[in-house]
């Protein structure tokens, strides 16, 4: 199955205040794939994700979405192309209710479907239970679920997840992995996620890029992902 390339970076450089963090990242993601990005703390995984969504301007190189360069687009325009983003550290809107948080997510697609809301509440029942609580007072794991639910509301075609399992209880980690895989199968959504949790990587990823010092240093195939020890080794490159 060789489908269209949905996301591609060519020699991407980016960083903060003149200090380069990404130093020529090349990667390619095809429509409908689930790709993991792994690497130690501080190698630039989050920086990469932020450059993809456009919160960080790229200094050199290029980001292509469906073969069109999107470097010049502001983040909100990229989002409107159908790219969803779940940040590391959740960043829910603290003084807004759960429902209102989810409502903001609608901005991406523009078309609001009641079904999607029902689906989200089905995946994450706690959100329904707490729908009027201020998001800032949710527990850490609840916030993470909200952040994921929020992004799904816009029915994106590509989702960028930055450490989605962080702070989530084990069985829900498994649930999230299952949900994402199921969504991927049913809606064809492409998923790129940064992760440290071996089980989550193995449960979700079809392919995996390994980063070190701002570069992609290895790529793990589906077969290599079968082996827990291999993944473990690469996680600590």
């Amino acid at each position: 199955m060789r489908s269209e390339v949905i996301l591609e970076t060519i020699g991407l450089w980016s960083g903060y205040g003149g200090k380069p963090v990404l130093q020529g990242v090349d990667l390619t993601v095809r429509e409908g794939e689930i790709v993991a990005i792994i690497g130690r703390n501080g190698v630039g995984k989050s920086t990469l994700i932020k450059s993809l969504i456009g919160l960080l301007p790229s200094d050199k190189g290029s980001v292509l979405f469906r073969t069109k360069p999107i470097d010049a687009l502001a983040a909100y325009l990229r989002a409107r192309l159908g790219i969803g983003y779940v940040p590391q550290g959740r960043d829910v809107f603290p003084r807004m209710s759960v429902l209102e948080n989810i409502a903001v997510g609608e901005a991406i697609g523009g078309t609001v479907s009641k079904d999607m809301l029902t689906a989200i509440f089905h995946f994450f029942p706690i959100l329904l239970e707490r729908k009027n609580q201020l998001a800032g007072t949710l527990s850490g794991g609840q916030q993470q679920q909200l952040a994921i639910g929020r992004v799904l509301m816009g029915a994106p075609s590509l989702v960028l997840l930055d450490e989605p399992s962080e702070g989530i209880q084990p069985n829900i980690v498994q649930d999230i992995a299952r949900i994402m895989v199921e969504l991927n199968r049913t809606t064809g959504v492409t998923i790129v996620f940064v992760e440290q949790n071996i089980d989550m990587i193995r449960a979700m990823a079809q392919r995996c890029y390994v980063m070190d010092k701002g570069r992609v240093v290895a790529e793990l195939t589906k077969e290599m992902l079968q082996d827990r020890e291999t993944v473990r080794r690469y996680l600590s490159v």
Partner: protein
């Protein structure tokens, strides 16, 4: 009958103070409450509304249209200033104090240079009416009505429209809102513009009743700040009750001990309320609700 008359008089006085506080504060509440920007140029947006509407009236525009025009122009100028200046300062809210202070100086003195030291008033429309021993101005009743209407309109905008949700999201975590597809730049401009337009509206509404000079904005600004502080960050939960409470306090103290007592009483109320409710009335309501 006398009881009714004095009840009406108390209602009228409190309502009058209430209207002044609400109309002064709304624009500030939007800009400060929503965006966290301390806008020291608030008074100058009021000035803008007042001058534009008065000039328009002099040119023959009917008063309601002239006032709307004043609000509109103030709003547009607000959006412009947001684009040019305020936009760059959201990450440093306290620096906005300096920037807006600068804007305020430019506008006040610029008005003096360009338009002279004063502008001729248009006179208050609608005449007066008598209840019991007192005669009252009809226009003040209109002002009270406008204060209520403004509150209602704002409430609708911020709770019943998508704009309200997106505006609050943008202000709380701007980069995430952006990454979720919200045109945060536009939202900021619109919110700031709305605040400025509300200030302009206050200016337009009060212009017929006041001296028109380049420094007239300062007559509003203390009251506006006090109301917003007592109200807390949320406009509807805060500003309206704060204005109501302060209106009564002020009217009562003024009729009892004169204007100075009214003024000082109001400022002391700030300190007392803040001591009891550090996050204002709305902070208290929200906490109770959560």
């Amino acid at each position: 009958m006398d009881v009714l008359y004095s009840a009406f008089s108390l209602l009228y006085q409190s309502g009058d103070a209430f209207a002044f506080l609400v109309l002064s504060a709304c624009g500030l509440a939007v800009i400060f409450g929503m965006m966290g920007v301390i806008n020291l140029a608030h008074g100058e947006f009021i000035l803008c509304g007042a001058y534009v509407s008065t000039s328009a009236t002099h040119m023959g525009l009917p008063l309601p249209l002239a006032i709307a025009l004043g609000a509109g122009v103030a709003g547009l100028i607000g959006m412009l200033l947001e684009r040019l200046i305020v936009r760059h300062l959201y990450s440093r809210p306290l620096d906005t104090i300096v920037a807006t202070w600068g804007i305020s100086m430019i506008v006040t003195q610029g008005t003096l240079i360009v338009l002279g030291s004063t502008m001729q008033g248009t006179g208050t429309p609608f005449g007066s009416f008598v209840v019991g021993n007192y005669s009252y101005s009809v226009y003040r009743i209109v002002l009270m009505g406008m204060a209520l209407a403004t509150l209602a309109a704002l409430w609708l905008v911020f709770t019943r429209t998508r704009f309200g949700v997106l505006a609050r999201a943008t202000i709380q975590v701007p980069h995430i809102a952006q990454a979720l597809g919200v045109n945060t730049g536009l939202i900021y401009s619109l919110t700031f513009g709305l605040g400025a337009a509300l200030a302009g509206l206050a200016g337009g509404l009060y212009a017929p009743t006041m001296t028109l000079v380049p420094t007239m904005g300062s007559a509003f600004i203390v009251e506006a700040f006090v109301t917003v502080v007592i109200g807390g960050a949320d406009i509807f939960l805060g500003t309206a009750p704060a204005a109501a409470i302060l209106g009564v306090v002020k009217a009562a103290l003024t009729s009892w001990q004169g204007q100075l007592a009214g003024q000082i009483g109001m400022l002391l109320a700030v300190i007392v309320v803040i001591r009891i409710l550090p996050r204002g009335i709305s902070g208290w309501i929200l906490k109770e609700r959560a």
